[in-house]
Subunit: 336 residues, 2 copies
């Protein structure tokens, strides 16, 4: 089991595993690939039974699928149980309910997302949306994070087969709250979405824009924390990825592939994290985020991990970025 | 030169190097140690001229010193220039003024801080304080961060000779602001310091306390973000490390050595970050932090990096900690 504990000073939440017995020693061991890939079609028996799948043929937990969603083999949060908020001395705790899923993004053993067919990427995007919609029906879940860790330097697993992860959380993460608050303050002042304004400014200035389609734009943020950090943003104001339409996914699939392909070529297959930023679960009784439809704007963040972060960044949340975003985009444009 | 850029959504600051030409590719290269150690006594000519030194004998930039402070060979911020706040389109920027210093913690080639003599650690602590006091005289600097990266997995340099770093910043880091705001809100409500209350609660409960002396206590925070995260805290309420007295350093030196020694033995010389959390520079005209003397409390954070962080943590600021702090302390107590 696990507990979700809150740092009462900074309002930061941590999932603490209370019955886990291993002590991580990543600094001592080298990582080894598993002998057989549990995510390949035909090896369904090596994973827990699937949550759902895009499957033109065959029955559950056999081959015939295109995208497959399975529970994490070692979930950090459990789907069963009541959401309870508990005081522990001076501290705050929430019971460890949530969900922990893996989206296997192709039946074949591919390791590079940018090499998937456009139609396959579209299926993955639809799966993300459908899981988000489904998990948000459960009002115990305050936030659902969809992300992808590519390469072990980005915290990725030793299973190289293309996959992403979904975690449903019983509390809203601090970084999401910071974004929501910043966006709300701006909206209160300007009556405009801060993300729409930033996007417009980027398109006007141009030197941080990597690419632009009818529906999406990709740019390196002005205050990029890490080198080659990129944001993929819908040009239409929309607060939640769950509200995306299928024809938007067609455009987005191509945009994502070109973006990740450019990083692959410019930086020699860098480790990276991809994170979907979308609105939290809007609970009927939750007045706090009532304005979120107007002031929040979903986007996908892609962060190559070509530089180790250090104690300065850890301790302060203040980053040092040796590659200015304008320069990063110029370098990526050379390979695009 | 560099620019200090602000993410206007989340109020996060980033130092962006605008004339740096290298592109980091840490994922491709293996790190190599320099052939000769520039920090050893006798090699003073290999570093920039010193800022100051604890030196019982000899003249500047020769041997005879016990602790030596030098400017960083490749500073990310420059000491010269005016602090200017500039609007850049929709964005905010501050000129890249600041300081970037290295504290060489021993004249001999030692690589493990916990093996320094007690008296030597005291000299290092005094040096940190003296630099903090000196740099805070410069009102352009809003925050001074003292930290130590041990091991390349913690972002440490390939120079293994014991050293720490000091960065003076022209803006208050987000994580510091979060702490200050959390502490102020608590003080407004309770009229007590939140850090004093947490420390008392930890000492009462006991199972997260690693050690306790007349003046200091070391404990694993209730919501530890990473395994074996520890806080070294003065038992006396004090908002700033700059206000510490010499006799406190005697106690603290032993406490730090025992803490880092326990980590060394329990985790086989883990990479770690050590970060000094202290109050920001209290400017005479700055009413904002006027209560900081009452509600803030300095401490030293020690964070072993025995686990890679991933996209989940990067994207959300929500951490997963597989080793409960109670268990971490029990394991460390076995070797203490």
């Amino acid at each position: 089991m696990s507990e979700v504990r809150r740092d009462i000073i900074t309002d930061t939440w941590v999932i603490v595993e209370t019955d886990h017995q291993d002590v991580p020693r990543d600094h001592l061991k080298s990582l080894r690939k598993p002998p057989a890939c549990p995510f390949c079609a035909g090896n369904e028996a090596m994973t827990p039974p699937e949550v759902c799948a895009v499957r033109p043929e065959g029955g559950p937990n056999g081959p015939g699928w295109q995208v497959r969603v399975i529970p994490d083999r070692r979930p950090v949060l459990r789907i069963e149980g009541r959401l309870e908020r508990v005081g522990v001395g001076i501290h705050d705790m929430v019971t460890g309910v949530g969900a922990n899923e893996v989206v296997v993004e192709a039946p074949e053993h591919l390791t590079d997302f940018s090499r998937l067919e456009d139609g396959q990427v579209e299926l993955v995007l639809r799966t993300w949306r459908d899981r988000l919609v489904d998990l948000y029906r459960d009002q115990r879940f305050r936030y659902v994070l969809v992300f992808k860790d590519h390469g072990t330097l980005a915290g990725g697993s030793t299973i190289e087969h293309v996959h992403s992860q979904i975690i449903a959380l019983p509390a809203t993460p601090r970084r999401v709250k910071d974004q929501l608050e910043g966006a709300r303050n701006y909206y209160d002042y300007k009556e405009r979405c801060i993300f729409c304004d930033i996007l417009q400014d980027e398109l006007r200035v141009g030197d941080r824009v990597l690419l632009e389609t009818e529906r999406f734009a990709v740019f390196a943020p002005y205050a990029s924390r890490l080198p080659f950090e990129l944001r993929v943003m819908p040009r239409r104001h929309c607060f939640s990825f769950a509200e995306s339409a299928d024809d938007e996914f067609r455009d987005l699939a191509g945009v994502l592939k070109r973006t990740l392909g450019a990083l692959y070529r410019a930086l020699d297959d860098p480790p990276y994290n991809l994170v979907l930023h979308t609105a939290p679960n809007l609970l009927p009784h939750e007045g706090y985020w009532a304005t979120v439809r107007n002031d929040y704007h979903w986007f996908i963040e892609v962060v190559p991990r070509v530089r180790r972060t250090d104690g300065f960044e850890w301790g302060s949340g203040f980053f040092i970025n040796p590659v200015a975003p304008e320069r990063a985009v110029a370098l990526l444009n050379e390979v695009l």
